[in-house]
Amino acid sequence: MSRYLMRRLGFLLLTLLLTSLVVFTITQWLPGDICRVILGREVGENALEACRQELGLNRPLPFQYLSWIGKLLTGDWGLAFSTRSLIFPLVMDRLGNSLMLALVTLVISVPLAVTLGSIAGLNENKPVDGTISVFSLAVVGLPEFVTGILLIQFFSFGLRQRGLPALPASSALPPDASFLEALPMLILPSLTAMLVLLAYIVRLTRAGVIEELKRPYVRTAVLKGLPRRTVILKHIMRNALLPTITVIAISFGWLISGLVVIENVFNYPGLGRLLVFAIDRRDLPLIQAVTMVTVLGFALANLAADLLYALLNPRIRFG
């Protein structure tokens, strides 16, 4: 197991190294002079030169790369050009928000999706199965801005019009909101994200259950005289959910940084919106920082998926 873990960690570091190189190179190749972006068009050549000197842009590229990596690792992420504020606390604040949203989404969607998928799989080709499959596929076909707005219409405006307690339509969190304060604002964006994930997890769980049901060990378990509930929960589910668990872990990466549309619909201050903002302003240091955090999130989610799989599947534990 430790050997397996070491190998996976090695791969993780390699991934981060490669992406940092890519991110660094791309930002170097982008047209335009950073100092001109910072100082504006009207500035003189002397001021530009001073700026380049200050930012270290005249040094050879490997030096620039190493100093960037070093600062990245020590938490000295510098100032964002556009807001003139420190990048590190900004990104960390947004990361926290994104994690909150991702967590709530998973807590809502995983039990529901796994239950629906299992019911569908255990009743293969029966009406229940068809209903679940059609419903989850219909929902995934709708874009997030449509489902998001429909949810707002219904749970926010619709309920309020009838004088019922309603959920907030905007999820613009006040700074330093505690989790409990934020929770009502998280529900609608989470539901929207859930509708995207649902079909995927349902289909995968269903396929896993159907495949496991055909395996001879299930027959062995039934013919031992075990009650059907034990056969399903103890024997089938653990094996059937293996692929699903991997996908859930990987989707965590997407939830952290890929919810650009949902965050925009709900005005939610997450990493996705921050990235859009940074690109909009051509704020290179901010783009680099958000990208690296995103990559780290994806890599960690992947690692977690692999480790979970190894932990639950004894056949590869010693791989």
Binding site: A221, N313, P314, R315
Partner: protein, 694 residues
């Protein structure tokens, strides 16, 4: 009258396929008493597994009992609902399934898989259940029960997995035990140990046993009474002794005559091949189901025969059973002189293949620690110094259990795996180890056919395209010439020329293997390697394939290297036999000499492990301890010493044995024990080469 434990009357079971009910088992009746073992023998598609599962009322969603009665100790099982079956399953009826590997839950500890039954069926607490589970593991002679209980299924061998399933089935002391091909995926030495175990455990337990298998030898050795199932019907039922000494149905006769007995050779006997194949579900012929394949079919066979009572407690579903009994028709197992002539021993033949001290190693990926300390790379030695010569036109058999390195050796000869040391010569010219260094002329002379024709033939190429390729690529023929020759090839393997347009998916297993043979012989190779050519096929089709191989070899003069775990088949087909264990040859002899004492102790164990197709044969049980060692940790000295029943002591552990030549025979063997000492302790094994009846 004692009530039988299991009584099945006029049972018909059907499956629904595309809105249509297809009857897989029709009008089957039999009973099993306490303490009795009833065998159901049949080929694939005969309905034997359906019958076993129907007896447990476990048919799946699309299966249903259409007619008949199933009673368990007088209780009507068909009247029970699925929920009411739960207390019957496991407690009163237990199943030992085929494929032990996939029949255990891969992600659950082995101990728990047995303990959960004890907890559920006897309401035991966890501590008591775990303790009793260990007791049961000891009762099935599990080596190191503690360790096995805390392992996952993939961490133990197939033989140990099957012991787990046997213990799980027996731990509730069920009235009825159903064994569905429990040994068919095991090596012959493991099979022998498992069969011993089954016999030991059911003796004195008064369990009724339903034993389902395709293996006639297993039936002969284990069962008291037998029913022969063909295309869903019992064609014959009798006591094991009667059935094997005087079969009264042409199908039973055909089955017995189509299997070579241990020690029978191609010079002495011509195998009886049952023509055709088992009819698929839903395409049954009218009248007698066996009629299209039966040599005795006459007009009356177009009406369905009833079950004729053909003796005390025996029945036959053949209109002509009385004539068969009197010996008027159905001359089965007449030793016909085959066309194959014994090759002259003194004749100096050109060597088609010569292997000298061939090694095949698979390097293992080193761990980080090993890399840092510059340890030499570990490797798995699959083949360790094999020297073997194959003369022109002759057949050399290579016999070994799984993991013995026989397939690695074949792959090395073919160049699919690169041998790591030693030399090879093809037609007295050095043969490069790597496939990429061999020219077309070499490839042309070296062909191989594989165990599973369904996987070996490209499913998207028609038979014609498959057969054309070697002709065009290896022999440089034009497309038109090749097309003409495809027809000849098909004719040679007894298939109509129209088959050239078919795809592999439209052919049966036996037909596919014929295509594979035609493809292999297309380039007229000097050497054809056959890797388990018949073991994926049904018994009644095997003989036809073996006969075909013999015939084509006689015509083409090709040499064969026949790789198989089946000593009887190899003994029948081969001129010379090499026995391989853990990558080393143990014994090499002419086929006729191999079955004579003295044997190498491993050969002796192999021979005594084979269940003989004769219930009266007394076999000396020589059983091997443990499992074949992992190739990463090959034993020092003699590779066989860890399991050898004739282990001498230190010398076997420390020194590699010498090759000894047995006086006045062609036999040489690799052992520390001298010829005379072996002869003194070994007995000649019974019934070799002798037909069952007169």
């Amino acid at each position: 009258m004692i009530t039988p434990v299991l009584q099945i009357e006029n049972l018909t079971v059907a499956y629904r396929r595309g809105g249509e009910w297809l009857e897989a088992v029709r009008d089957v009746s039999f009973h099993v008493h306490a303490g009795e073992t009833f065998g159901v023998v049949g080929e694939s598609g005969s309905g034997k597994t359906t019958l076993a599962l129907a007896a447990m009322r476990y048919l799946g969603e699309n299966g249903a009992v259409k007619a008949g009665r199933i009673t368990l100790a007088g209780r009507d099982l068909l009247a029970l609902s699925p929920v009411e079956m739960e207390p019957v399953w496991g407690k009163q009826i237990a199943l030992v399934p085929q494929n032990p590997q996939s029949s255990l839950n891969p992600s659950m500890l082995i101990g728990e898989q047995l303990a959960e039954v004890l907890r559920h069926q006897f309401a035991m607490d966890a501590v008591e259940a775990n303790r009793q589970a260990l007791d049961w593991f000891e009762r099935v002679h599990m080596p190191d029960p503690d360790r096995v209980a805390n392992s996952y299924p993939h961490q133990v061998s197939a033989g140990m997995q099957q012991r787990v399933l046997i213990a799980t089935a027996l731990c509730t002391e069920p009235q009825l035990l159903i064994l569905d091909e429990p040994t068919s995926n095991l090596d012959v030495t493991t099979q022998a140990v498992i069969l011993d175990l089954v016999r030991e455990l059911i003796r004195g337990r008064q369990t009724a046993v339903l034993y389902v298998t395709h293996n006639l030898g297993v039936v002969a050795q284990v069962c008291d009474r037998v029913g022969v199932l063909y295309a869903g019907e019992f064609v014959e039922q009798a006591s094991t002794r009667e059935l094997f000494s005087q079969p009264l149905h042409p199908y039973t006769q055909g089955l017995l005559a189509s299997v070579p007995l241990l020690g029978e050779t191609k010079e002495k006997i011509h195998l009886w091949a049952i023509p055709g194949q088992i009819p698929p579900l839903g395409k049954l012929p009218g009248g007698c189901v066996f009629r299209p394949r039966c040599g005795l079919a006459v007009q009356i066979c177009e009406t369905q025969p009833p079950l004729y009572v053909s003796g005390l407690k025996r029945v036959s579903r053949c209109h002509r059973w009385e004539e068969i009994q009197k010996g008027e028709v159905g001359d089965w197992r007449v030793p016909t002189v085959s066309k194959v002539s014994a090759p002259g021993e003194d004749e100096r033949r050109r060597l088609v293949l010569n292997l000298d001290a061939l090694h095949v190693d698979y390097p293992q990926r080193p761990s980080l620690k090993e890399m840092l300390r510059h340890r030499p790379a570990r490797k798995v030695s699959a083949v360790r110094g094999v020297s073997l010569a194959i003369p022109q036109g002759r057949t050399v058999g290579l016999v070994g259990e799984s993991g013995s390195g026989k397939t690695s050796l074949a792959r090395a000869i073919m160049g699919l795996t690169i041998s790591s040391a030693g030399s090879m010569e093809l037609l007295e010219i050095p043969l490069p180890a790597s496939l990429s260094q061999r020219d077309l002329a070499t490839l042309r002379h070296l062909q191989m056919m594989f165990q599973n024709p369904e996987e070996a033939l490209n499913p998207f190429l028609t038979v014609g395209e498959t057969l054309r390729r070697p002709l065009i690529i290896l022999l440089g023929k034009s497309r038109a010439e090749a097309d003409r020759e495809v027809a000849d090839l098909l004719q040679a393997v007894r298939l109509p020329a129209s088959y050239a347009a078919r795809l592999p998916g439209q052919l049966s297993g036996g037909e596919l293997q014929r295509i594979a043979i035609a493809r292999a012989f297309a380039s007229n190779p000097a050497l054809l390697i056959c890797d388990e050519p018949v073991s994926a096929l049904d018994v009644s089709v095997q003989a036809a394939i073996l006969n075909l191989l013999l015939e084509l070899q006689a015509e083409s003069g090709s040499s064969l290297l026949l790789i198989s775990h089946d000593l009887a088949a190899v003994g029948y087909l081969a001129d010379e036999i090499a026995v391989i264990y853990l990558g080393s040859l143990m014994e090499v002899a002419q086929a006729t000499d191999l079955f004579q004492t003295p044997y190498h102790p491993y050969t002796e164990a192999l021979l005594s492990a084979i269940p003989l197709i004769d219930p009266t044969a007394e076999q000396r049980p020589i059983r091997l301890a443990g499992d074949i060692p992992s190739p990463t940790e090959t034993p020092t000295g003699c590779p066989f010493h860890t399991r050898c029943p004739r282990f001498l002591g230190e010398i076997c552990q420390k020194e590699t044995p010498p090759w000894r030549e047995v006086k006045a025979t062609s036999k040489r063997y690799y052992c520390h024990i001298p010829e005379d000492d072996l002869r003194a302790v070994q007995e000649r094994l019974p019934v070799f080469g002798q037909p069952l009846t007169g």
